[in-house]
């Protein structure tokens, strides 16, 4: 799960990425951490302290931290809502690429119609806590 804010733990990027596997008693190899960082576009960031990251970089580390757990389903809770426009597109491309290459299910919450069109195959519209429409994104959003 990746949230609106990265909520990285006050430690190095490497320690953040290794956190999930550590909870299961696994030690994540430095090579694996380097690969994950490379995949999210942050090669060589492993030793950096999270306080030195920009908002976009922090969100990329949060994504790498989640992927380190090798999830079958990726849950994204408005992962770009706290980012500037340039960072938003970068994260969107990253999400599309990762979901495509891992063939994984991704459920993402957004209030941005254009972003839903760019990223989602199917969309569910919720209003006041109730599901009001489900279907292919273009059909659902154009009907609204």
């Amino acid at each position: 799960m990746v949230m609106q804010t990265a909520y990285l733990f006050p430690d190095t990027v490497s320690a953040n990425i290794a956190f999930g596997p550590n909870q299961r008693g696994e030690i994540l190899a430095q090579a694996r951490i380097a690969l994950l960082l490379q995949r999210v576009g942050l090669p060589g960031f492993a030793g950096r302290h999270v306080s030195n990251l920009s908002g976009g970089e922090a969100q990329r580390v949060a994504l790498a931290r989640t992927l380190a757990n090798e999830p079958e389903v990726l849950l994204l809770d408005e992962p770009t809502s706290a980012l500037d426009e340039a960072s938003v597109r970068g994260i969107e491309d990253l999400i599309l690429g990762i979901v495509a290459e891992r063939q994984m299910t991704c459920v993402m919450v957004t209030h941005n119609r254009a972003q839903a069109v760019r990223l989602a195959g199917r969309t569910m519209v919720m209003e006041a806590g109730r599901l009001v429409a489900v279907g292919p994104t273009r059909e659902v959003l154009h009907a609204g």
């Binding site: 909870q23 949060a62 757990n69 209030h111």
Partner: protein
């Protein structure tokens, strides 16, 4: 018993009351000074002083009546004090289910264990005249440690909801996600007691030692005994802080490991929905 009470009321009491009037006058002057700087504590100070005086006079009367009471009576008095301390500390946890029980069990564990150890080792005699004053000091400090620990722990959790939920979402156990905040809360609750220990004899000479010296005990023994009391206060505070935060931690999460202790404006379920842009 009544003879004990009559014996204890004499010129000393009248002198003490006159001195209390002087102390109240001094406090009133300070309160007036605060009011001049728009710090208004008049009502609270008046109520606190009235309560404090009445409570201490009542304690004196009870001690005079029970001066030669047995261990069960002393234990009952300490038990009632523990309940009062728990009620006072629980006021800091308004809105939290089971706050009173958390405070009671943590203060009872901290103060109870230490008082029992002191009785077992003979460093505290089972006479009311000694058991109640020393026990009350330990209970009062356990109460402060409890209040400080739970208040700090709650504030830390509320300030780190995002980090805690990030940890939970990555598969961490609830205890792991809040462990840094538990540690800082227990440490914060111990700090005043650690400072008290460091400054013992340098900055202050506590009441127990002063009382023992006045009543003719060896000043060296009085000093050593005072150290024992302060060390026991530190130990009781540590146990209380640990038990309070561990009990509170178990109440901060649902059985499904969801964080239920949250800021009032951010309910766990049902986030306010914004319209599609």
């Amino acid at each position: 018993m009544l003879a004990e009470l009559q014996n204890s009321i004499g010129n000393d009491v009248l002198t003490g009351l006159a001195q209390a009037v002087g102390a109240i006058a001094l406090c009133a002057a300070v309160v007036a000074l605060c009011g001049w700087q728009s710090v208004h504590v008049e009502r609270e100070a008046a109520v606190s002083m009235a309560r404090g005086l009445v409570q201490m006079v009542l304690v004196g009367v009870v001690l005079a009546l029970l001066l030669h009471g047995s261990l069960p009576i002393g234990s009952l008095i300490l038990f009632m004090m523990t309940i009062a301390a728990a009620v006072t500390a629980a006021r800091r946890l308004k809105g939290m289910d089971g706050a009173l029980l958390v405070c009671f069990w943590s203060i009872a564990a901290g103060a109870g264990i230490i008082i029992a150890v002191m009785l077992a080792t003979g460093s505290l005699r089972p006479e009311i005249s000694m058991l109640v004053p020393v026990g009350s000091m330990i209970i009062a400090n356990a109460m402060n440690a409890c209040a400080q620990a739970i208040e700090r722990f709650r504030a830390e959790i509320l300030a780190h909801v995002g980090h805690i939920e990030a940890g939970l979402s990555l598969g961490a156990e609830p205890a792991v996600t809040v462990s840094p905040y538990l540690q800082s809360a227990v440490y914060a609750s111990l700090l005043p007691r650690l400072d008290m220990m460091k400054s013992l004899g340098l900055v202050w000479i506590p009441g127990v030692m002063a009382g023992m010296v006045v009543s003719g005990a060896s000043p060296v023994y009085a000093g050593v005994y005072q150290f024992i009391v302060v060390a026991m206060i530190l130990a009781a505070s540590g146990i209380t802080g640990l038990v309070a935060t561990v009990l509170m931690r178990s109440r901060a999460f649902s059985p499904a490991a969801q964080l239920t202790l949250r800021p009032a404006e951010a309910p766990a379920h049902g986030r306010q929905s914004a319209p599609l842009k």
